[in-house]
């Protein structure tokens, strides 16, 4: 004798989804993304993690440079070309170029020249001859007095 349960189960055997439901389900299953093999997927995941770490690391380095490395870079930036006022080579060149000695020696030249030309013109005019003769006469007189 069939039980009531068995009669119900026989009824459910004839149950079917309707056509629209079938179509929707089929297209949903067929269009969903296919997962690859296990090894390629793992690599891609690892790469994603590495990318994130690298970006994070770079940011940390830049923060370090900005906060901690400024004084180091400052020293390198304060080069001779930017401190030209204090550059010792420029100072030396400038002092040499100031013509201090040349100007003073030029002034001295004109003093020396004045004296030399006066003597030369005295010699040319015969005044030195007269002076020499005068000196000789004076010396003769003095010799006469002392002897």
């Amino acid at each position: 004798m069939e039980t009531q349960m068995e009669q119900l189960l026989k009824k459910f055997n004839t149950l079917e989804p309707n056509r629209g439901f079938k179509e929707r389900s089929r297209s949903f299953i067929l269009n969903s993304p296919q997962k690859g093999d296990l090894p390629a997927g793992a690599f891609r995941q690892f790469f994603n993690i590495a990318q994130f770490s690298a970006a994070f690391g770079l940011v940390a380095i830049f923060i370090f440079l900005i906060l901690g490395g400024l004084s180091f870079i400052n020293k390198k930036l304060i080069s001779p070309s930017l401190l030209s006022g204090l550059d010792s080579q420029n100072l030396e060149k400038e002092v040499k170029n100031l013509d201090i000695q040349i100007q003073l020696s030029q002034a001295q030249y004109y003093e020396d020249s004045a004296e030399a030309v006066e003597v030369a013109l005295k010699a040319a005019s015969g005044e030195l001859d007269k002076a020499e003769n005068r000196n000789q006469e004076i010396n003769k007189l003095l010799d006469g007095l002392t002897l």
Partner: protein, 349 residues
């Protein structure tokens, strides 16, 4: 940052141009000096030749007289050539002076006019220095030349040399002042970057400022003195405006004939010319503009060299400029010391 770098590069370029230009004129100056010294040696050589002729016992009286005339004439020619070279040198020095104000330019032009007047004398000398000149004529010419040289030429050249010395030094003082400003800016940059402290270089910098001010004050004193001398000795008619020199006035008004004739009259009138030129003393107080009176800065007193500046003898333009240039040299030594200290502190090689 970009503007700063560009500005700094431009300044450096300008400085390099000034230094290059200075080196060029330096070379020309040196060449001119060598030419003058060579001409002076030639004059000495001719005088030695004259002395040798006089001592030469192998010559007859007639030969000796001929050779003496020749030697004297050659000596006069050499002195004339030297004087022409000196005139040219002084003209170039006057024309190369830079950054003169209107008053100083007028003085410069008046001094150039004085050098132009010398041409009258040179023409007269050449006319008289003929081939058949007699012994007495050559001696007379030499004597007239000597009188003119002592009474007119030397006072002119002394004051022209003094004038150029003062204003050439002014250019040096401007350069030094620019260098001081650059150093000041550099020190401020370093202090702002916390690479050095103010007290590291403060005392030295203050000393440099004080020495430069002293140099400028001495230069100003020299300028006043040279202007007084020029006005009193070269333009006693107070005629810088009309550029009428003593020489021109006397030449126009005196009665003795010929150019050298009035030199004798000049000799009588110009008492003390060519003798002691250091009579004019600068008694004008030179105001020193102290820009730092409002701030407390370390003071530095410059030890004054009393031997060079007005002990018993009044200072001359040359001694004042010499003392001023000494201060400039000391200032540059201080700049070098500051540079060394900064390099040590910053760790630059």
């Amino acid at each position: 940052m970009k503007k700063f770098l560009i500005g700094n590069l431009f300044f450096n370029y300008l400085f390099l141009c000034l230094i290059a230009g200075g080196l060029f004129f330096n070379a020309l100056n040196v060449y001119a000096q060598e030419e003058l010294k060579s001409a002076l040696k030639d004059v000495a050589g001719k005088i030695n030749k004259l002395a040798e002729v006089k001592k030469d016992a192998d010559l007859t009286e007639q030969e000796k007289e001929q050779k003496e005339i020749q030697a004297r004439a050659e000596a006069l020619n050499k002195v004339l050539s030297l004087t022409l070279l000196e005139d040219e040198d002084l003209k170039n020095k006057l024309n190369n002076l830079k950054d003169l104000n209107a008053e100083n330019e007028k003085t410069r032009d008046a001094l150039l006019g004085l050098l132009e007047e010398n041409k009258n004398v040179y023409g007269t000398i050449r006319d008289r220095l003929v081939d058949d000149i007699t012994p007495s004529e050559v001696k007379e010419l030499a004597k007239d030349f000597k009188d003119w040289h002592t009474l007119v030429y030397i006072p002119k050249t002394e004051n022209i040399v003094a004038f150029t010395l003062v204003f050439q030094e002014k250019t040096i003082l401007n350069l030094t002042g620019n260098r001081l400003e650059k150093i000041k800016l550099d020190l401020e940059k370093l202090e702002n970057a916390n690479l050095i402290k103010n007290e590291d270089t403060q005392v030295l910098f203050a000393e440099a400022v004080a020495r430069l001010k002293k140099a400028e004050s001495l230069n100003e004193e020299a300028r006043i003195l040279v202007m007084e001398n020029i006005t009193v000795k070269l333009f006693p008619m107070n005629a810088l405006d009309s550029a009428t020199s003593t020489e021109a006035v006397l030449a126009a008004t005196s009665t003795p004939s010929g150019f050298f004739g009035w030199v004798s009259a000049l000799k009588a009138k110009l008492i003390g010319v060519g003798a002691d030129n250091a009579t004019a003393t600068a008694t004008v107080a030179v105001p020193v503009n102290d820009e730092n009176t409002a701030e407390k800065k370390p003071e530095f007193k410059i030890p004054v060299n009393k031997d060079a500046v007005g002990k018993k003898q009044p200072p001359t333009v040359k001694s004042l400029v010499q003392e001023s240039l000494k201060q400039v040299k000391e200032t540059y030594k201080i700049f070098s010391e500051i540079s060394k200290i900064v390099k040590e502190k910053v760790g630059l090689e």
